[in-house]
């Protein structure tokens, strides 16, 4: 049992350790996923910022085509020279020139809107901004990006007008020694198309926002764009983020327990107006140890060492079964066989030496128990007794049993009749190989066949109640019984090959008397019945208190 128990403990520890390790692995995986997501978001945010800047730079180069067009420069100068009103001719010629130049630009590099502005900031002509159609006094000169262009700078800006616009400007020169004749302004609308294009080029899920609302969004395949709607609810607390407030880029924030988001302000006027963009990612996380099964793809499963896992499981099971067979099944089987042999009468008692561990102790206890029962005169029979099996060969003539029955000494010589009340089973050795106690001279042998009649076998057997006699008669009977026991004992010792030299009745009587008093005192018995038997090849004496 020790090995089995040790194995159970080992398996328990291993199972607990496995659960613990899986929990740690889950936590580490989720933490690593969150860290990777944070790094990826920071990278996404920078990539988007770089893209916006690079895109603006490249598109500002496209403005050169407008700036060097002779008609554009000429009619912008003409408009600038007319402080009171923009000449209609200038409007018409500029519009035609803008269309011509814009048509020469590759479609994917064209602007959504182009404006030609004179020195006063008045929009002389524009393309793609239908909102301003018919507004003769439409101007853009107050914006710093336009003012800079009118003063000789190329730069970008992000304006939040009716929508978000990425704007680039550059001056248009007519006379190199004078102020620029005007400026050309190219704008891209930051709409879903722009966001999708940006997302496809950067690989990031991105949403632009302004005035506390999502303005546009784009996401790569596999990322639900609807997730980006969650940023609206998160933006209310965004201004509390010191990094966002000071540096224009927030820490990585988690929305709804899963979605990782990092916010960045857009450069330009949009910075002051709270306009910006958010990049978002879903973290690589599992919701528990079993989440690995869902998260693992075919490649992961291929890399897992399944044969070793199976071998460990089989080995553990085999060891457990082996220990179980060795310590449980096999001893029980042996015990079962021995018990069956005992039940069949093939043996008188269990052989403790054939058992191991606790079974040896059980066998020994069972043997002792059986002896105790026998010493008490046997227990109630549960069925017809096979007398021959229990007592061995029964002699033809009645002979003295190893057990004499207490009672009236006067009746002792009398043979027990068939009507005698049931008596206890004689404490005779059941093993026929063991020597039987010899018959005692002077004492009639009990009629065992009559004692154990089949009709009384199922009833509780009681010792016959002795007739009340005087104390003298009782003492004499007891002495006579002790003499008989002495003779039986001496005879049994001789049969067992033991020496009886120096073994006197007086010593024997002293021993019996002492034992008699001790047992009567301890158990409150009426008297004590002594009998002889063979124990481990030697004659032994057994004392049985009689309670009735």
């Amino acid at each position: 049992m020790v090995l089995s128990r040790f194995w159970y403990v080992l398996l328990g520890l291993f199972l607990g350790l496995s659960v613990f390790l899986l929990s740690i692995a889950t936590s580490m995986y989720n933490r690593a996923g969150a860290r990777a997501m944070g790094e990826a978001l920071s990278s996404d945010s920078q990539v988007v910022a770089w893209y916006l800047r690079d895109d603006a730079r490249q598109r500002s180069g496209r403005l050169i085509q407008f700036g060097v067009d002779p008609d554009i420069a000429k009619y912008l100068q003409k408009s600038s020279d007319s402080e009171a009103k923009v000449p209609e001719e200038a409007r018409e010629k500029l519009l035609a020139a803008l269309k011509k130049v814009n048509a020469s630009i590759p479609k994917d590099e064209q602007f959504d809107s182009v404006f030609a502005v004179d020195q006063a900031g008045r929009v002389v002509a524009h393309l793609g901004y239908e909102q301003a159609s018919g507004l003769s006094d439409f101007e853009l000169g107050g914006y710093s990006v336009v003012a800079d262009a009118l003063r000789g700078y190329v730069r970008d800006d992000t304006l939040i007008l009716d929508r978000i616009y990425r704007v680039v400007t550059r001056p248009v020169e007519f006379d190199m020694g004078a102020l620029p004749a005007g400026a050309i302004i190219g704008a891209r609308i930051v709409d879903d198309r722009f966001a999708r294009e940006l997302s496809s080029r950067t690989g990031a899920a991105i949403a632009f926002y302004a005035n506390g609302e999502r303005a546009s969004s784009g996401a790569p395949e596999g990322f639900a764009t609807g997730n980006l709607d969650q940023i609206v609810g998160d933006m209310s607390s965004l201004e509390q983020d010191p990094e966002y407030k000071d540096k224009g880029r927030s820490k990585v924030r988690t929305i709804g327990g899963m979605l990782g988001v990092q916010y960045s302000r857009l450069p330009g006027e949009a910075w002051q107006l709270g306009g910006g963009f958010a990049v978002a990612r879903m973290p690589g996380a599992v919701d528990g140890p079993f989440g690995f099964f869902k998260a693992a793809d075919d490649k992961d499963k291929q890399q897992a060492n399944l044969p070793i896992a199976i071998a460990v499981a089989v080995a553990a099971a085999a060891i457990g079964i082996l220990f179980s067979v060795f310590e449980h099944t096999r001893p029980i089987s042996i015990f079962k066989n021995e018990a069956q042999r005992l039940a069949k009468g093939q043996t008188d008692q269990l052989q403790p030496s054939r058992f191991r561990g606790v079974f040896r102790k059980i066998a020994s206890d069972l043997n002792d128990g059986m002896d105790q029962v026998l010493a008490k005169g046997g227990g109630p029979r549960r069925g017809p007794a096979d007398m021959k099996q229990v007592l061995g060969d029964i002699p033809d003539q009645p002979q003295m049993s190893a057990f004499s029955f207490p009672g009236d000494p006067a009746s002792m010589p009398q043979p027990i009749s068939a009507n005698t009340p049931p008596r206890s089973v004689p404490n005779a050795p059941a093993n026929p190989k063991l020597p039987r106690p010899p018959g005692r001279p002077g004492l009639p042998a009990a009629n065992l066949d009559a004692t154990l009649s089949s009709e009384d076998a199922s009833a509780p057997r009681r010792l016959p109640t002795p007739p009340m006699r005087g104390a003298v008669d009782g003492a004499a009977a007891e002495l006579a019984e002790w003499h008989a026991v002495f003779q039986d004992f001496v005879s049994l010792k001789q049969q067992c090959g033991e020496s009886t030299e120096g073994f006197s009745y007086e010593k024997f009587e002293q021993t019996l008397k002492k034992k008699n008093e001790e047992l009567i005192t301890r158990h409150g018995a009426r008297r004590v019945k002594f009998s002889v038997y063979v124990k481990e090849g030697k004659a032994a004496l057994k004392a049985s208190p009689i309670m009735e």
Binding site: R57, F138, A147, V154, I160, P180, L273
Partner: protein, 272 residues
């Protein structure tokens, strides 16, 4: 008083029109000139040393106004400064000796990232009508002015506000950070006007008498106060009104000195 004039100096009575030059004229004109009116003609000098505060702030990389800003080498360095558009930003006012009567409503045009005019000098109590000329809404408010709280003004819509008392008031727009306007409420102002791109101005003064010419820029006085006595005849100022003080000159000189490295630095910081 109550009249500003156009860059040509001719005054006209106009109402609110849809055409922006007419609207501008309507905003700038308060009273018609009469046959008795006298003109004061003059010229500003050094106005390119002035700096539009909005544009000057915007070019500072710390304000994150751009991701790149680079000078075009073919544009002369003297032009690469955030000097103001003086026809809207530099106001010349004739200040009388005593208080002047109240002015009729003045139209202020809101569009293109600024107001027209940017700085205005009026008497207290003058009603200003702000008209949105952009195709999108604005949200004007007075800085520290309880009677001018932020409010939406849709495309083409107007919003009125009366100047409560003497002083300087600043108007901003929550939807356009570049929009900043200054209203100077001066009880003795008789007339105000704006110069042309070249700095030339002309004031129509209704009543003969002694006046002081004072230029205002971004809500502040710039240049010296020039005393003028107006009689029946027009007055031609022989000395230009210098609006750049020493500090402005020093600043301009310093800017010229650093212009060569300015662009590179801005580009680097912008990139950061």
């Amino acid at each position: 008083m109550n009249a500003c004039h156009t860059r040509s100096g001719s005054s006209r009575i106009v109402g609110l029109r849809r055409s922006w030059p007419l609207l501008l004229a309507a905003g700038l004109l308060a009273l018609p000139s009469t046959a008795d009116a006298a003109r004061i003609r003059g010229r500003f000098e050094g106005f390119r040393a002035l700096q539009n505060p909005v544009w000057a702030e915007a070019k500072d990389p710390k304000n994150h106004g751009y991701s790149f800003r680079e000078p075009v080498p073919t544009v002369r360095a003297e032009f690469r400064r955030p000097f103001p558009h003086i026809p809207k930003e530099l106001c010349i006012a004739a200040i009388a000796v005593g208080p002047q009567k109240a002015q009729p409503p003045v139209l202020i045009r809101v569009g293109g990232g600024r107001t027209t005019p940017v700085t205005i000098v009026v008497t207290p109590g003058t009603r200003l009508t702000f008209q949105n000329t952009d195709p999108f809404k604005h949200k004007l408010f007075g800085v520290g002015i309880k009677t001018f709280a932020p409010g939406d003004t849709g495309p083409g819509a107007t919003r009125d506000w009366s100047v409560p008392a003497a002083g300087v008031f600043e108007i901003r727009d929550e939807a356009a950070p570049s929009l900043r306007m200054w209203i100077v409420a001066e009880p003795n102002v008789a007339q105000a006007a704006y110069p042309s791109m070249k700095g030339e101005f002309s004031l129509n003064v209704q009543e003969p008498g002694d006046y002081v010419l004072q230029a205002y820029f971004a809500g502040k006085k710039v240049g010296p106060a020039t005393p003028v006595t107006v009689a029946a005849a027009d007055v031609e100022l022989k000395v230009p009104v210098k609006v750049n003080d020493k500090a402005s000159d020093a600043s301009a000189a310093a800017e010229d000195k650093t212009k060569a490295t300015d662009a590179a630095t801005e580009t680097k910081e912008g990139a950061k």
